[in-house]
Structures are given as C-alpha cells and as structure tokens.
Symmetry: C2
C-alpha cells in the first residue's frame, strides 16, 4: 500500500488510477471540507488530526513510522497526514470568470494560482505544458483549494474554445496592456503565461483584450502574483458592480 | 574559487564575506542594471550573456563545465551564469511604505515579497526568523529585485522602532481586518506573517490598523500573494491620490 501510494508521485500512475496525494493537516482538512473523495490515509501514530478522521470512520488510516511517511510525502520531514484522494474529472468550461494557466511550469506557481482562483471565485483551466494540477507539489501549494474551484485539465483549450463557452479572452502581459479594472461585466478567461517568457506573441495578438499591472523598477512580477492580483482586481470590480 | 563560491550557500559564510550568489541571465542582468557590485562570475563557455559581460570588462569570468556550474548553482541544470555579488549593508528605516517580512520561512515567498516590494515602491524589512534575504534561493525568486529596494535585515525591528521611523504599523490577517484601500496617506509598515500561522496575536493586537483581503472558499491566500496584493492596492491608492 505504501509502495502504491508513493507511485502517485508519477503523473502516469495518477492518471491511470484517478488518484493523487495531498499532504499536511491544513491541506487535508481543507480538501475534505470541500468534499474531496478520500481513498485512504497514512499518518504517524502521534497525529491528532488523523486520529480524529479515523475515529469518524471517514476512511481507513494506515499508521506508519516517520521513515515510511517520508517515502510517500513530498516534504523531507513530514508531520503528516498524507491522504490519497480521488481526482475529479476535468470540469467543462462555463461562462464564469476563469484563469487559464498557460505554460506555468513551476508547481508552486500553478498551485498558488489555483488557490487564488478559489479565493476570488474563478474557475481554472490548466493547459498542457503547465505543471500537472494533480501533482503532489501543486496540491501542496494550493493548500486544499483544488476541490473548491472547477478545474479543466488534460486537453488543449484555445481562444475559440473559450469564446464558444461565452468567455472574453484576456491576455496578461508585464507592461503595455490596459487597466484590469476596466474589463466590463461579461465573464473573462484570463490567460497567465510562463515565468520566463510570458504568453506567446500570437496568443497576445489574438486576445480580445490585454491587461497589465503597473509596476516600477522590476522587469516583471512573479507569474502567480501577477495572476492573483488580476483575479483580486476582477473580484473587487465584480463586488463593486453588484 | 569554485569551492569558495559554493560555500556562499551557507549563511555564515555569506555574512563573513559580505557576498552572495545570484543565478540565471535575467536575475544577473537585473541586479547589474540596478547597480549591484559584482565580484566575479562563473559561466558555461556557450553563455552569450556572460561573454558580453566579460568583453565589457565588468568583472572576471571563470569559464566552467556544466558539472562545475551545478556545484555553485541552486538549480540542478543551470544554464548560468552564476554571479558573486557584494551584499549591501542593511538599510536604515525611513518614512516610506515598507513591507515587514515577519516569519516567512519559505525562501520563494520571501524572494517574491522582495520582488513585489520593488515593483510597488516599498522598502523591505526582513525580520530574523524569516528566510535569509541573501540566500541564493531567495535571490532567485526575487529575480534581481534585491538591488532595487532598500532592505533592512539582521536585526529585530519592533512596532516601536517602526513608529519612531514615522511608520504606521499595519498588520495583515486572513480575515476580520479593514479595507486595505482605506489606510490614509501616511507611510505604513505592512506586516506579513508566516505561511502556517500568520502574525502572532500580540503583534496584531498592538498594530495601529489591521487589514484583510476579502476571499471566499479558502482558508487563506499564499503569504507572498497576500502581501503582494496589499502592496499593489497601496501603490494604486498612492497613484490615485497624487
């Protein structure tokens, strides 16, 4: 069982079995609270949260030694628990504000964007070429938010698909774009590009609008920060127009 | 020389010699452009940017094999260059908007906050208990921004020190605080707490104001994202009131 769980660090194994790993008391609690399906759990005998979940009969808990837990966990000295969760099917596109993670390779940045999307009422599209949204490192950065926002993944989604779903295509760039506060009322697909190169030129050229955050003294913001600020700004605007 | 540079991954060695490492073409270029003092550089013979810097006579470049570069670099497969830079002295507190990094242990989050501070015109205080601002991992996340914002580090800075410097003390919390857009004109010290626990209760209780970002569905935002959004909001407000 430990070996089978540890194999979920591989993308192919996750896709084949429809399972992933989430680690740490806060992320596990947040995932369960948001209705994630739990398959099993591994925890240290000293783990109070795991004991609570076990006593509620929510899933089978395997009590393991620290050396065993660290083989399943993503961190070096896990305090556990590590839960095996069922990954939901890819969500269909809907006419609701959506962040499109396009070529964000860093798992921490992809996870942070999913977390911010849940916080600001956005759906998420993770395009191939970004970090796998169900990788344990991404799960860890998102802190359980995967189950609080609909996530589309595993398929290429182009501008035409987004428009067909009723979304205006908005490209984010480090500079030269318009004010993110002036995007109007219709739902948008906000495209966030790679850490090193941003969005490809043809994607920006084909967008319905281009937005930038005004900054001084630095080349660009961190990709997850830029995307999060734009989602924040959008949520604020949504709130103000209600 | 390679051994001496590799030792700069240790905090004690960095402090003793007043040097640190910065890695990658963008971060090195940004640091040099912002006026960072460069001591030496290590690069692959194929590195066009390093050849340009060498031809301009800005510093001595040591041409090394990939296996040697990876001993100095922070990443596994560095494309280089890795520069040895002089760390400036700790900046004094001034009556200008300042972000106070209080117990942010993750180097990526601390670096991202420094990057956003430079982008939004904030000075930075990194308190002991946070990641060392001059650690190579922090340098990498900040993408060269260390030399574009004044940084105070290495000393405990309390609320009274901040007030004596003319700063209003503002605590950020995941919820329950006021609107960050309504902080008035006087310069602030914005306190950002740890990823897991936020700011200590007594620090929040002693602050002149408490602010929160309105979110739904998640426990909290990533610490670097929350701090960056608050700095963004402040910079926007500053711009609007000019």
């Amino acid at each position: 069982m430990v070996v089978a769980a540890a194999r979920l660090h591989r993308g192919r194994e996750r896709r084949k079995r429809g399972l992933t790993l989430v680690e740490g008391p806060n992320a596990v609690a947040a995932a369960l609270e948001a209705g994630a399906g739990i398959e099993s759990m591994f925890a240290l005998a000293s783990d109070a949260i795991a004991r609570e979940i076990a006593s509620e009969g929510r899933c089978a808990v395997t009590w393991v030694a620290p050396s065993v837990l660290s083989r399943i966990a993503d961190t070096e000295h896990p305090r556990g628990p590590v839960a095996v969760l069922r990954t939901p099917d890819a969500a269909p596109l809907t006419p609701t504000d959506t962040v499109v993670v396009a070529g964000v390779a860093d798992p921490g940045n992809t996870g942070t964007l999913i977390r911010s999307a849940a916080a600001f009422g956005f759906a998420v599209v993770v395009l191939p070429g970004s970090a796998d949204p169900w990788a344990p490192k991404v799960m860890r950065s998102a802190a359980g938010a995967h189950f609080s926002a609909p996530i589309t993944f595993g398929v290429p989604v182009g501008a035409d698909d987004l428009r067909a779903a009723g979304l205006g295509v908005v490209a984010s760039t480090p500079r030269g774009g318009g004010d993110p506060g002036e995007l109007g009322e219709a739902p948008i697909a906000l495209l966030v590009g790679s850490e090193a190169h941003g969005l490809p030129d043809d994607v920006v050229a084909d967008a319905d609008a281009v937005v930038s955050i005004e900054t001084a003294r630095v080349e660009s913001l961190n990709a997850a920060v830029a995307g999060s600020i734009l989602m924040y700004e959008r949520a604020r605007h949504r709130g103000a127009s209600r």
